[in-house]
């Protein structure tokens, strides 16, 4: 039946067709700089429309600033053991004008530790997240695009990674290779990539069949070119979403590992603070000023990541509304 009277455009038209590459030269007419500027514009646009994204970014901004200006923000060194004027150890002092969050059982200023902890959290969080998502994205791209035995092998590898208990593995790694943050990052990177890999893989598999990829293939663009020049930009927003969530998981993991005593003892992290508090019987003494703030900071930063992911997802990948 000729659909002569139905002239509305079909739904689901790929709106990115306006960015079809110039098929004769195989180059996108805009080029890398335009790609970057488009990404930047999108990045800035979303928080204006969406509360989750705005709040999440705000939280991150706060903690990043705290990390950058930590030295200016604190009065004492986080690991410095402090004594009063009368040479008494400043043991477990309650919050005061001098020590906004009081002191630990070992005589250290809690507030300083808290502020310094932002550096450790963000360093581990961002590094680990970037590693995990980089591996996951790469695996997803290659696996989804090439299919066949490559896909098989990579998916079997991901099954194995998923079969290893996460926290125990990181603990053992830290115990055997040494209590350095780099080892924690290593453990996270080795086991957490499958989640992002799978999602990206299925997205790539859908994109593979799309018109603009066919067009590129027909004009003789090489496989790697198609993969990186045409398909990747569509995937990067997914990678971004995963990164903001992965930072949270990484921080939580580092905190857990430090709490269990397998973290570095010369760096102050929030996990370290909690371990110190627990071991020093802060719970029994009701020293809420000691163990509540580090936990709260973790909650805030991780939630910030969740909010950013949720916010950008709502705008970039909207689901049908009721």
């Amino acid at each position: 039946m000729p659909q002569a009277i139905d002239t509305a455009p079909p739904k689901g038209l790929d709106l990115r067709l306006d960015r079809l590459p110039d098929l004769t030269t195989g180059k996108a007419p805009s080029g890398l700089m335009a790609e970057i500027s488009l990404a930047a514009q999108t990045f800035v646009r979303v928080p204006r429309q969406n509360a989750y994204a705005a709040i999440g970014l705000g939280i991150y901004a706060l903690f990043i600033l705290a990390a950058l200006f930590a030295d200016q923000l604190i009065q004492y060194q986080p690991l410095e053991i402090l004594f009063s004027d009368t040479y008494q150890l400043k043991r477990s002092l309650p919050p005061s004008a001098d020590h906004w969050l009081g002191t630990t059982q070992g005589g250290r200023d809690i507030y300083s530790q808290l502020v310094m902890g932002t550096r450790s959290a963000l360093a581990v969080g961002l590094t680990a997240a970037v590693c995990v998502v980089a591996i996951g994205t790469l695996v997803g791209l290659v696996s989804g695009y090439f299919g066949g035995w490559v896909d098989n092998v990579l998916m079997r590898l991901s099954d194995i990674a998923l079969g290893i208990p996460f926290l125990p593995f990181v603990i053992v790694l830290a115990a055997f290779l040494g209590a350095a943050q780099s080892n924690i990052v290593l453990g996270i990177a080795l086991l957490l990539w499958p989640n992002s890999a799978r999602v990206i893989r299925s997205q790539v598999m859908t994109l593979r069949e799309r018109a603009f990829v066919e067009a590129a293939r027909v004009t003789g663009a090489g496989q790697w070119r198609i993969l990186f020049v045409h398909i990747s930009p569509n995937i990067l927003s997914l990678s971004f979403l995963y990164t903001s969530v992965a930072v949270g998981w990484a921080i939580l993991t580092e905190a857990a590992v430090s709490f269990l005593g397998f973290g570095p003892s010369n760096t102050v992290s929030w996990g370290y603070m909690l371990q110190d508090a627990y071991a020093s019987q802060a719970l029994g003494r009701g020293q809420y000023n000691w163990f509540i703030p580090p936990g709260l900071c973790i909650v805030l930063v991780v939630m910030g990541g969740f909010f950013i992911s949720r916010g950008y997802e709502e705008v970039l990948f909207p689901k049908l509304k009721g």
Binding site: M1, P2, A4, I5, D6, T7, A8, G322
Partner: protein
């Protein structure tokens, strides 16, 4: 007259203001007759017929008019009284049964559910009746135990028919019941449906965008465009003497309706107007090859035959316009803003 729709208006609330999806439509459904509602996507037909059951998305609101079913204006009924009517008096056959049936329930259980919960039947009675219903639509009773995805498209639509007839309704609303099927199956399902309609004396409102379906099963036809009824009347009259430019255009777009085998296809160019701020005057003006100055004013409903009306300033000249419309050149380059 089993159903009388009078000046029905339905608006969609949007951030930009109300969209007048259905803007004052009127038609009647006599007892035991099949009324087809035909129009393109977005003309308001689905919104209109779903409103007859008062099941609409939260953004849709009634903005005026009456829907008189068996003497009562159902728009004024309380929700409870309206719910009594649902399925027992007025039933619905959806376009796509695959989406309309619960995928994790057996099909037989879904029929039994309606029979027990709305028909107050016991389990045994309901089971027996569901077997009868299946027999009626030409399905084997052992398939009652299957899940929706195990049926082919045509058989699934038969399930929908069986479900709709479960409580012996008097009015059945069929919303594009065969659109999703291929042509041969369409005929089969329509035949089954028509047989049952005659046997039980059902009144039917059949929504479709396919005029050949209308020609095949309907007694009356209502043509909708941009939220308005532009022509209505007995099927034979409307199809042999279409009196609104849109209907004439539709006619041209479906050559199998005409006797001329070598008539060229001439689609109607352009698209329907946005209903947020409908244009003044006749809504079809921008796409009409016969539009004149006066068409900027609201068109009257003109009687062009017994029970046959058209919403057009030039309805009296319909015969001449039909003649002119045979030339495909007339339809090209028509669209004005």
């Amino acid at each position: 007259m089993l159903l009388s729709v009078r000046d029905l208006k339905i608006h969609y609330k949007t951030p930009l203001g109300p969209v007048k999806a259905v803007d004052g439509i009127s038609f009647d459904v006599p007892q035991g007759k099949v009324v087809g509602i035909v129009g393109e996507s977005g003309c308001g037909k689905t919104t209109a017929v779903r409103s007859l059951l008062r099941v609409m998305p939260p953004v849709a609101v009634f903005a005026g008019g009456e829907v008189i079913f068996d003497g009562t204006d159902i728009l004024k009924l309380s929700e409870r009284r309206m719910n009594d009517l649902r399925w027992r008096d007025i039933a619905y056959i959806p376009q796509s049964a695959m989406n309309a049936l619960d995928p994790v329930w057996r099909v037989g259980d879904q029929i039994v559910e309606v029979l027990r919960k709305r028909g107050n039947m016991s389990k045994t009675e309901a089971r027996a009746r569901s077997e009868d219903l299946f027999a009626m639509v030409g399905l084997e009773k052992n398939r009652l135990r299957d899940y929706p995805h195990q049926f082919s498209g045509g058989m699934r639509q038969r399930v929908s028919i069986a479900l709709a007839l479960a409580l012996n309704p008097r009015l059945v609303i069929a919303d594009e019941p065969v659109t999703a099927l291929d042509v041969i199956i369409q005929r089969q399902v329509l035949d089954t449906f028509a047989t049952l309609q005659r046997e039980f004396g059902l009144s039917v409102v059949l929504v479709t965008h396919d005029i050949s379906v209308v020609a095949y099963v309907c007694d009356f036809v209502v043509v909708m465009y941009a939220g308005k009824v532009v022509e209505k009347g007995p099927v034979r009259d409307v199809l042999t003497a279409p009196s609104h430019a849109y209907t004439i255009g539709l006619y041209n777009a479906f050559p199998e309706l005409s006797a001329d085998d070598d008539r060229e296809l001439s689609p109607i160019e352009g698209g329907p107007p946005r209903l947020l701020n409908p244009p003044e005057g006749c809504r079809f003006r921008a796409r009409c090859p016969f539009a004149i100055e006066v068409c900027k004013l609201e068109p009257p409903e003109v009687q062009v035959g017994p029970g046959h009306t058209a919403l057009c300033h030039r309805a009296h000249e319909a015969a001449m316009l039909r003649d002119q419309a045979r030339d495909p050149a007339v339809w090209r380059g028509v669209v004005t803003s």
